[in-house]
Every structure is written in structure tokens, then in C-alpha cells.
Subunit: 206 residues, 2 copies
DNA sequence: TGTATCCCATACGGTGTTGTATCGTGAGGG
DNA sequence: CCCTCACGATACAACACCGTATGGGATACA
């Protein structure tokens, strides 16, 4: 007799998550009813309420998934730094490289952020998830400085906030005027200068 | 026997518009049902459907009202240019000066823009309203260059697009990090340089 | 003041969505 | 092979909201 979760359960949640991703992309967060998401997953609402508490729960699960993907991608980029000629540019370009997935995620997360602004409880939860993601980014930044043979002179958490702001700000503008501004342009132009500014060589020159 | 609209009608629409403004501010566009808006206005849905076709109609009415207020404010600023010492800075500061109203409008219009992205018909209507507003801004810019004794060397419509983008982009960032960035800072810093770049004196120096 | 017209309130039918309570099925340990 | 629990399906009750059709009170003009 089953004591823990069965093998079927993770498959069910995976199907719900994928259906949610697609539905959110097409209709947005508000526009996606739980019912339609379940329908798309080939399940019923019973399955949903067995796996998630609310639609917001579903979003946060997607949030974590997406964050993990981004972190993995950047981690790999940092790990491959040695072989590149212009290492920083490589990382940044990879950071700005936007597939359709990233664009849709921006739209969704923006909508959800606006929602959170009007709902303090949700905002607190969102801030907590943001914080956890930023921890990963701090880890990444530390690794990056290490690879570059430099030691940061500022708080890495604030630096993580800044890079995130630049990334999302650029994204917003390039979505508004795709022909005028490439998504990675601002980051590639300004962030390298910044790196020099906020760090010093580990072993100062002779 | 009344042949045209009666005196009561404009009062009713005004009450609806004000109630909508407040409700949208508190709950956002999606979160505001027509019913709640009418309730707040002390009216019933009958009044609404007699004055507007859809909730989107209501938004666009607010859009026009807000646009008109902004244009009026800037027009006044341009008209008072002569007496100021640093004319351009005056206009820009006034443009960036954000009261709470402006902040709420940003949240609302952002949410509505996301909505429009997913609904092409709405997007077309929004683009049309944007266009009309931009016409006013072009008029303003023309007046500004005139006052400055300069002649623009670029298309004023594209310049209007740019200033709008800078304005909204700054707003977004200053909302995300209020302590890090004043709303008018970017505009005040960069736009004056730009003005020189895209215009020439009407009467070149001897 | 009468009265034609306007305009908002009311009432109605309908749809979509939510959360829960209950049931049946099948997975998986004994 | 069988028994038991997990888990998703189903059924249910309630709610919120929408759009319309209609009636009556308010309004403006003679």
C-alpha cells in the first residue's frame, strides 16, 4: 500500500505546469482560468486542487523553474570563461540572448508584478522568491569575479539588483522598440565598465 | 421636450469616470468589474451601458483625459519659457515631476498595454489613441524649438517617440528603485544634449 | 403645467469560474 | 494476489459578472 507520493504525481504536476506556461503565454495570468489550464493539460480541476492551492502557487512554481533555467545557463557561461577571448562580453551576450520564451516570461512576470503591487500578501511572497533567485545570482557574480582574477569592492547583493534592473529595463525598451534597441546592447556597452569600477585586481600589478 | 442630451448626462459620465479612476487605481483594470465601478459612482450598470460600450471604452476615455492634462501642463511650461534661466531644464523637470496621480496612471497604462498586446483589436485602438497624443507632443516640440530659436533637423514624430520612451523607461526604473533614481534624472541629464544634436540655430552666428 | 423625450434603475436570463465534498480507480506494498 | 491508500474524476452549490430588455421618473421645452 502506497505510503508516499506515487510515480504518477510528478507527471501530473509537470503536465499542469506546461499547460499553465502555454496558457499564461496566450492569455496572461488574469485571463487564464484554472479550468482552461486543466483542460489543456488533459486533466480536471480535481487534479489541480490536489497539487496546488491557488493559481498564484502555480505561477511561483513556474517562477522557480524559469529562474533555475536562467541560473543554469549563466553558470555554464561562467564555467566556459577561460576559453573565450572577450570573456565578459560572452557572458553578457548570453544573458541578453532572448528567445521567444524569455520574451513571454517578461510579459507574464510584469503582469504578475503589477498584480502583486495591489496585493501585499502576494507581494511578500514574490519578494521572497526574488530574494532566493538573487542569492543564486550573487553566487554567480562571485564566481565571475573569481574567474576574472578580481575582487569586488561593493556589496554583491546590490550589484545583483543593478544587473537585474538593467536587464529588465533593456528588455522593456527593446520590446517597445525592437528595431531601435537590441536587448543586450545596453548591458554589453555599460556593464564591462562597471565591473572595472566596482572591483580591483586580486594581486595588484608590480 | 428634450431633443439633445440633457444636463444630467455629462454629470453621470463624469461620476463614472471618477469612480473608474479610483477603482482602477485600487484594483487594476482586470480586477475592476463594471459592477463595482458603478457601485462606487452611486449608479447602476444601466447607467454604464447607456454611456459606454465596454470597460475598454471607459479606459480610453480616461486615457484621453490624462493625455490632455499632461499636454496642458507642458504647454503652460513652454509658454513660460522666456522668464526662466535654464529653460530646457525647467520644462523637463516639470515633465518628470510625478505626483501620485502620475504613478498610478503608469501602473494602469502598463497593465492595459499588456492586455492590448494579447488582444490585437484593442491594440489597434490603443495605437490610434497613442498617435493622437503624439500629435500633440509634436506640436509641443515644435513650439519648444521655436522658443529656443532653433530649427529641428530630424523628424519630430520620431523625436516625440524617443522622449516618450525615455519618460516611461525612467518611470519604470524609478518605481522599481525609488531611492536609486529620481524620475526626472535621466531626462534632465541626457535630453538637453540631444536637443543640441538634433537641431541648429535658426540664424547661424555671424 | 403639460408632455415628449431622454436616461437611468430594475429585473432577467445566461455564462463562466470557484472551492469543496465525495466517489471510484489503480498503483504498489505485503 | 489482495488490500489499502493516494489521487484524480465527478458532482454540487454558490457566486460574480455580463449584456439586454423594459419601465418609470427626470428633464427640457412649449
Amino acid at each position: 500500500m502506497p505510503k508516499g507520493p506515487t510515480k504518477r504525481r510528478p507527471q501530473t504536476t509537470a503536465r499542469l505546469l506546461e499547460a499553465a506556461q502555454e496558457t499564461f503565454a496566450e492569455r496572461g495570468f488574469y485571463g487564464s482560468s484554472i479550468e482552461v489550464i486543466c483542460e489543456r493539460a488533459g486533466l480536471t480541476r480535481g487534479a489541480f486542487y490536489s497539487n496546488f492551492r491557488t493559481k498564484e502557487d502555480l505561477f511561483f512554481a513556474l517562477f522557480d523553474l524559469h529562474g533555475q533555467r536562467v541560473v543554469d545557463r549563466l553558470t555554464q557561461a561562467v564555467d566556459e570563461l577561460d576559453t573565450a577571448e572577450d570573456p565578459l562580453r560572452t557572458v553578457l551576450t548570453r544573458m541578453g540572448a532572448l528567445d521567444e520564451t524569455e520574451r513571454r516570461w517578461y510579459l507574464l512576470s510584469t503582469e504578475f508584478t503589477l498584480h502583486a503591487i495591489r496585493h501585499p500578501d502576494t507581494a511578500r511572497t514574490l519578494a521572497e522568491h526574488d530574494r532566493r533567485l538573487r542569492e543564486e545570482i550573487v553566487r554567480l557574480l562571485a564566481g565571475l569575479f573569481d574567474r576574472l582574477g578580481r575582487r569586488p569592492t561593493v556589496d554583491l547583493d546590490s550589484l545583483a539588483r543593478l544587473t537585474t534592473a538593467v536587464h529588465e529595463g533593456s528588455l522593456a525598451q527593446s520590446l517597445v522598440e525592437p528595431d531601435q534597441l537590441a536587448p543586450e546592447e545596453l548591458a554589453v556597452t555599460y556593464l564591462p565598465m562597471l565591473v572595472d569600477l566596482v572591483s580591483e585586481p586580486v594581486a595588484p600589478g608590480p
